[in-house]
Symmetry: C2
Subunit: 250 residues, 2 copies
């Protein structure tokens, strides 16, 4: 028996998110199905990040246990020949049997893309939020600065009854503009439900002058979701990378 | 009566190309339908570039005549509210009544994207060719240099019986690499059927060492399509821009 870690990239457009659910096809379900067929035993993966419907990934992580003899490194190639074109394994390797993708120290990086121009671009409609109004990036950067560090992000998440601790650490927020594309890249030790999309919705309000940058600081203290901006739509969001600093030391 | 010029962007994934044909939905057909409904008179557009199935555009050009009173500049906004999300007008303006998008001096720019990495990226599968093998960009640039200028491109097109003159002028070929994405940007006064995709297929053979760069020069002299590389697949190709230098002087 060995534990295998997969790095998974997908276009979330046609999926009801990562996690198995009754009313639509999910990434988890498709991976379980094709892994079970490939390895000829029932496989159940454990995912690191349960991304929402329409959210994309370049590097989500999943692990599973198998007694199959296929070398871990070969599974990526073999699985990719079976998967639909909108899911592609980027790496497969053996990990220690007690490695758990959610209960380890992690550094997660997400990127939210905003297309800020006069008219939508059809070839980017599935991977960026189209935003017509001008945005003041300096104000957005100032506001984003208040998010860095350990904070209670209760104002900036959709509350789930089972989550009691809403304290998280954000390591960095970078806002980069290349032509008409604005990338908000957020790196942290973990994110609450809808947290990045609510941060982006609030940054959009600040960038368009509806709130001042200092409002982000107040918002953290208010601990009230109603005081934040809208949840930005899913298609702009991509899970870029999940790193496991403890594993990398091994 | 006025003549209106549209700048049209589209995701070609779900269309059978630009030009109306019996066996599938085309960009031309969708534009005619929605323009006719919007302006309440039968509209038939004349397109500048009849892109193939699966090819994208950021700036194709079309003109039509209308007696509707709607100002030309407003048509872009009004039409975009009716069009499917994979077609978006970028500009609409009145032009002189005898302006024809194909029978004018033009400078056309196309871009072909190649994703050169170990595994495919699902979010870019519809807009770039995935290519696994390493590519020598210096060899590709040297080969591309032979294409610049006025040449008979008979070796680098799919012959159409109605096209007798296969001489065209290429102004520039730029090969740019950003991370794992290679962009081949070609600018010329006009392109023959499949010409850019055959040029790209041949550059791929040169970049992977199958031909030497000098072969591109020989190939032009051979005037034989069989001697060139494969036609690269359509999804990597985007019509970036069509400029009309004479019009810009007015």
């Amino acid at each position: 028996m060995k534990r295998v870690k997969l790095t998974v990239a997908y276009d979330g457009t046609n999926y009801h998110g990562w996690q198995i659910q009754p009313n639509g096809v999910t990434i988890e379900e498709v991976l379980n199905h094709h892994l079970s067929e490939l390895l000829r035993e029932p496989i159940k993966i454990i995912g690191a990040s349960r991304t929402d419907a329409g959210v994309h990934a370049r590097g989500n992580v999943a692990v599973f246990d198998t007694s199959a003899r296929m070398p871990a490194e070969k599974i990526s190639y073999a699985l990719n020949t079976r998967l639909p074109a909108d899911i592609r394994i980027q790496d497969s390797r053996e990990v220690r049997p007690d490695f758990h993708p959610r209960f380890c120290e992690t550094v997660k990086t997400y990127e939210y893309c905003i297309l800020n121009r006069k008219f939508p671009d059809p070839t980017r409609r599935l991977y960026a939020l189209f935003y017509y109004y001008p945005l003041d990036l300096e104000k957005m950067r100032q506001a984003a600065g208040y998010l860095v560090g350990e904070h209670d992000f209760k104002s900036l998440c959709t509350q789930k009854p089972e989550v009691e601790n809403t304290v998280r650490t954000i390591y960095s927020v970078d806002i980069i503009k290349e032509d008409d594309l604005i990338r908000i890249r957020i790196c942290g030790n973990g994110f609450l439900y809808n947290m990045i999309r609510i941060i982006v919705g609030t940054l959009l309000r600040i960038g368009s002058g509806y709130y001042e940058p200092e409002y982000m600081k107040e918002l953290l203290e208010l601990k009230n979701r109603q005081a934040a901006g809208e949840t930005a739509p899913p298609q702009g969001l991509t899970l870029v990378e999940i790193r496991y600093p403890e594993e990398e030391k091994l």
